[in-house]
Subunit: 285 residues, 2 copies
């Protein structure tokens, strides 16, 4: 297991953690300013959101190269199914391709996929998962040609209705098995999987198909399941044990901190959030 | 699969569905008035909460016998672990026994167990599940002597932090295997398990150890994970398929409707809620 106490170059910031503090929103930190603040602290990577870089992909990528930070990935493909997905099938396919193109333009390695909830007019997850697999299989070929890897992210079952009918690492790996594309893997997010006693077995099964590892914490008394995530150490997830299993499976990539927290962290100075994040990464992950 | 279109004697009301409209709260329906309203509609059973019958167990049981309604079960054993459980170990044991005694006094068959969340000072669910197994093993002997069956209810993983470190049917059955007591089984609640693709396999494994089956629905856009449950048919759970699998496993007991809904159903006239519940039970379950 890697030791992060003295070297945090494997730490990546997902800009969601700062409340998407990009130009024109929140405290107004641009991707460039955010990258500079990360580099100043020894943080090795950044994960950006599409709306933060739209139309400026090349410039953002150039800044990242200039200051020496890795653009780890892009969030995210469109919802493919469910009540929040585009209604027209062609719109889903087109936007999925646009997200892949944008990932390539950024020089990022990974596009994260959050699949969407239960398709309207259907019950249960089976039909929706079947539709997801079709979209992902098609996109995987397109992404391979663009040099982009796709990471299926199972979300916590609380999002099963509207955001992700894909709720477990087991289901995500089953879909990977079914599609069988070399550039398709999974993203493991502590928030989504911490409760799952089947996780160790599934991580061992995943092996090198773990394309991303996300850090945060599950607060014992979560007040808002979308925007009340905890900083590492403040909740009940056994982060160190999960990271050990992820690394035992063969993962040696970046550890991405992604904390949606309208209740707490988004209210703070972004510089303070970064400082706390670094400290917690060194000490409790 | 049983046909409920013309016979709803297998339908049971969990009084939570009426917002615990018992004497002194809400619309003020006593357990007796609630039972009468159920009998008038052909509903065959009722599930009560401890605070609704405390000190009046024998009288409530006598009324049930007199009007011909089955007291299916009692909610519930105390939280055994986690931030909401009694701090002292003896208090947990004592209250667990009191709940078993109360179940027997009511003439009810089943006491439901909601195990509680992650034990303070620990991380992840493993330690807490170990403690739960100890409490349940001890209680199972006591319950057997009282003629009471215990139903472990896995809750949706959203409750993992504070209310239930036991989050899947698989985990509940693993604990049953471990304790190996004839009067220990599981309660399957659509709200808690609808998202789980492993459910069909686990239900087949459960067989006659399914002691209870709970109906409600998961709303696609759930606004409050504690008090925004849906009426059957209003959400995305594939209720009919789950019921088919439960019955295929050998379950032929009551179907208990338990809907916590401060957002909708608790605001309505209890008589209307019962009428809608009956209609939905006939048509969408």
């Amino acid at each position: 297991m890697r030791d992060f106490r003295h070297d945090i170059s494997a730490l990546a910031l997902n800009t969601a953690t700062l409340g998407h503090n990009v130009a024109g929103a929140g405290a107004g930190w641009s991707p460039e300013r955010t990258m500079d603040a990360c580099v100043a602290r020894g943080i090795g990577g950044i994960v950006l959101w599409r709306r933060e870089v739209a139309g400026r992909e090349a410039a953002v990528a150039a800044h990242a190269r200039a200051v020496g930070i890795k653009v780890v990935g892009l969030c995210r493909a469109p919802f493919l199914v469910g009540p929040l997905a585009p209604v027209r099938r062609d719109d889903v396919v087109d936007d999925f391709r646009a997200a892949i193109d944008q990932t390539a333009e950024l020089g990022a390695d990974i596009l994260t996929i959050v699949v969407g909830g239960v398709q309207p007019g259907t019950k249960g997850v089976a039909t929706s998962l079947g539709l997801v697999a079709e979209y992902v299989a098609t996109a995987a070929s397109y992404a391979a040609a663009a040099g982009v890897r796709l990471a299926l992210e199972p979300l916590h079952p609380v999002y099963g209705g509207d955001r992700s009918c894909l709720t477990t690492t087991r289901d995500a790996l089953d879909m990977c098995d079914q599609i069988n594309a070399e550039n398709l893997g999974v993203a493991i997010d502590v928030y989504h999987v911490w409760w799952d006693t089947d996780l160790p077995r599934q991580l061992a099964r995943a092996g090198r198909r773990i394309f991303g590892f996300h850090l945060c914490d599950w607060l014992a008394h979560t007040t808002d399941v979308l925007l009340d995530r905890g900083m590492m150490g403040d909740g009940v997830a056994d982060i160190a044990t999960i990271r050990a299993a992820v690394e035992q499976a063969g993962y040696d990539g970046m550890c991405e901190v992604e904390i949606f927290s309208a209740t707490n962290w988004w209210k703070r100075d972004p510089a303070e959030v970064l400082d706390v994040m670094v400290e917690r990464f060194r000490t409790v992950c």
